[in-house]
Symmetry: C2
Subunit: 173 residues, 2 copies
DNA sequence: GCCTAGGTTCAAAAATTATTGAAACATCAG
DNA sequence: CTGATGTTTCAATAATTTTTGAACCTAGGC
């Protein structure tokens, strides 16, 4: 498309050249990556979050990609994930269509939102199933031990569902 | 992998022939599998647990393998995992070296133990790292915003570590 | 002791998940 | 409107995780 026609004079953008992560940044990223791993959140997502978390000011797409040495696709998907879980927010400066990202004020709230989004659907979907399983067991005169277990599971599930709305992202935002 | 040619009726234990899971059992298994998935616990492990959970009496190795149609290796590893996290316990009947498995009385306790075993090591290992990262940031005169974030992270980590011992598996066991 | 039921290990295969990058898309400054 | 910039999509690939199965242990009955 664009052969190196000599456009270089005025534009400093010729070589993005971002510096790789510093040791202290890597250390923090490792922490986030590890914690994220437990919840099944991919490495790339955790790295993006860590970078934003330790950066003094919001970063744009290219900086994230450049400093983490990661593909456009991964950055895009990572931001999508973080956005979707309200873990980051963008500061779009006017005069530019570029978005700059920073972590949401409360990591705690972010985590709650993330957990909710993972468990809630499972709990909701499970409700009827569990009731069916229990009814089934009762009907066929299963041993009381098992009935008891299944009842407890049902109660748990119900309680979790009731409690869930209380865990709405706190108002302060 | 072809099945061994049938040696007619020669074998005493010729056909273990376990019946596959019933619909209600499958439904429960699906529930456990889904929940386990969120915590990164493999399907096979969740299936084993579900089967034991819904079974009126303890099951031995061969029953588990047979009913779930799963390899020896998986059953062995699955039981190892569940045992390791104290989610099941065995009733060895005398006169036989065979172990029979059943779920631990409290699923709640099991889950707590599981979570602890995942997060605790990460938290412990992170402690010095996080402190280093914070010190580093302070030293280089990073923006207060970031210092604040990192401090909070440190506090969290410390608190989590302090709280962890309180979550010891309850005495009743 | 020996033999074998009962189980474990672990390298290889299969299944699943994450990442890449090029093409498509969208938006806004001009 | 147009074109460059900024971003998303998604099929292909790479990386990781799970499962398998056959070889290998091991305890206990004989």
């Amino acid at each position: 498309m664009k052969p190196p026609s000599d456009k270089s004079a005025g534009r400093r953008k010729s070589r993005p050249s971002f510096e790789p992560l510093q040791p202290h940044e890597i250390e923090l990223a490792d922490f986030f990556v590890r914690m994220a791993g437990i919840l099944g959140v991919p490495r790339s997502v955790a790295e993006i979050y860590a970078l934003l978390y330790i950066s003094p000011n919001p970063l744009d797409f290219d900086h994230i990609q450049g400093r983490l040495g990661m593909s456009k696709g991964s950055v895009s998907q990572g931001l999508k994930f973080l956005r979707g879980h309200e873990m980051i927010l963008s500061v779009k400066e006017q005069g530019s269509r570029r978005e700059r990202w920073q972590p949401t004020p409360s990591l705690a709230a972010s985590l709650v939102a993330l957990l909710r989004s993972q468990f809630l659907p499972a709990l909701e979907q499970a409700q009827p199933s569990l009731q069916r399983v229990l009814a089934d067991a009762q009907q066929r005169g299963t041993q009381p031990e098992v009935i008891e277990r299944l009842s407890r599971l049902n109660r748990w599930n119900s309680r979790a569902l009731e409690l869930a709305p209380l865990l709405l992202p706190p108002p302060g935002a």
